[in-house]
């Protein structure tokens, strides 16, 4: 576990291009601290998903430096990637559920990958499915679930192993407002337990529900500073007096 004030993620002049195309992310610099709640906003095509891919180690940057959990993530040997990934929870925009597994087995997957014994798996997985309102669909395969139900399974899978950092790409895009609020409460609960949460969304109402959150805005592959968090020294959000400095390192 990271030390309370140590940065959990640090990006320094990171750029990303796919193949020989133009850069989809340019000069991205920021720092994420443990136990904070971040929103990543931006129009479609601004690079949100690409930035999240860098965050959950599915993509290496074309340039720049990335440190995660106090370690250089660029030169991280491949054998150490699984250990880092187990500290992350990811909600993919397209859910990425394993189609031949039931909702229960999909949610249980991170625990099984991490070596948790079968007798320790059933209770938390059932509780999690109950939390996301899918207790009665535990045996259902993803193909038989609606988009919203699949999204809730994906969220349950992302948070079941209580990750150090949760990265969610449009996690409420397919659910009704009531369920969106409930899922947000789940993220906040996780956040209160110390998990850093990064949610990519363009749902303004969702952002407003978490007043203490910090916002990163991507515009054509560049990070902007709508909340002043990128200023130096970083702004302390209202009501944050006495807490360690929040937000982002100087660009």
């Amino acid at each position: 576990m990271s030390k309370p004030d140590a940065e959990i993620v640090q990006f320094d002049n990171v750029g990303l291009r796919y193949g020989t195309g133009k850069e989809v992310l340019t000069d991205i610099s920021f720092t994420l601290y443990p136990g904070r709640f971040y929103f990543l906003t931006g129009a479609s095509g601004a690079g949100k998903t690409s930035l999240l891919k860098l965050l959950y180690l599915a993509q290496r940057p074309s340039r720049g430096l990335i440190r995660m959990f106090g370690t250089d993530a660029i030169t991280l040997p491949r054998e150490r990637l699984p250990g880092f990934r187990r500290r992350l929870g990811v909600v993919f925009q397209d859910f990425r559920l394993v189609q031949h597994l039931s909702a229960f087995d999909n949610v249980a997957l991170p625990l099984r990958v991490a070596g948790v014994s079968e007798r320790e798996i059933a209770k938390p997985v059932d509780e999690m499915l109950d939390w996301v309102g899918l207790a009665d669909r535990r045996h259902a395969r993803p193909a038989t679930l609606s988009g919203g139900e699949q999204q809730r399974v994906a969220i349950a899978r992302a948070v079941i192993a209580r990750p150090d950092m949760l990265v969610a790409d449009e996690p409420t895009g397919n659910v009704d407002p009531e369920m969106a609020l409930k899922l947000l409460q789940l993220f906040e609960s996780l956040n209160r337990l110390g998990t850093t949460v990064v949610v990519a969304t363009h749902d303004v109402h969702l952002i407003r529900k978490v007043p203490e959150s910090l916002i990163m805005r991507l515009d054509k592959g560049r990070l902007s500073d709508p909340t002043g968090a990128l200023r130096y020294p970083p702004r302390r959000p209202s009501g944050e007096a006495g807490r360690p400095p929040l937000g982002f390192a100087p660009a």
Binding site: Y56, L57, A58, Q59, R60, R78, E79, L81, P82, G83, F84, R85, R86, R87, L88, V90, R96, L97, V98, Q99, H100, L101, D105, A108, L109, P110, L111, R112, V113, A114, G115, V116, S117, E118, E120, K123, P124, E127, M128, D130, W131, R157, V159, I160, A161, R162, L186, S189, L190, R192, L193
Partner: protein, 311 residues
Amino acid sequence: MNAAALFGSLRRSRDGEPALLSDTRTADPRLGSPMPWVIAIVIALTVIAAASGLALRNAAARASADLNGGVTVQIVTAAPADRNHQADAALAMLEKTPGVIDARHVAQSELDTLLEPWLGTRPGDTIDDLPIPALIDLRLAGPATPARVAALRARIAGVAPSARVDAQAAWLTPVFRAIATLQWLAGGLIALLALATIAAVVLSARNALVNHRETIEIVHMLGGTDAQIARVFQHTAAMDAGIGGVIGLITGTVAIVILGRQFSALGSGMVGGAALGWVDWLVIVLIPLGGVALAVLTARLTVLSALRRML
């Protein structure tokens, strides 16, 4: 329910050795339903090739052991009286020769039996009138090396000038060479069949990797290791090879038992020595296990090699 209750009961296991993914039914990569049948055919052919190689080795070893110290002395002269005289003299001398453990004048009746297939036994046949060489069957202590045969030849020449001395093994040298060639052929076939197994498993594993690429990526993203993923493929390869191996072993065994019976019916002395011993049968029974090991190792190396190219 609060979040602490929701998350609090979990045991974190970031650094420990993770459980087998195969236990979790995380992924279900089928190496292709034809695989067990391909393996069965390969194992059946391997069993037949191995049994043939082992039987040939046994036949050669038995014949070689029988003939190893054997020497034949022929007294080749047309005059019966001289022939008998020389044969008696040679026999008397050989019985006193060191290193000779047995010397036996082959009886005329035995010669008649040996010649019967060619000359017949009808009344009136006059085999006795034919100038058939007198034969002395010698057993030496130890192998009949060319040097020992030459020494014997020199000694016999003094008492039986018409004698020809030959090591019995020398007559079968071309047969032994042919058997050795057939054994190499059987070994080559087994090697080719092993390569065919490797190729089939590699192709199936690659196919399964492509079909399950998305699942593999998900498992990777959730912190699954290459070894965990490879174990799922190894398990499938082991199952396919195991099922195929049993079918192949049964099929191959039935074939060699039928072939063995047919060869036994030939009644030839050399073929009779080709019977398989219990060690040979043990080797044959171990062939499917070798197939499973080869399939598992091939699947593991193929999958790990492919996974290393993924992030």
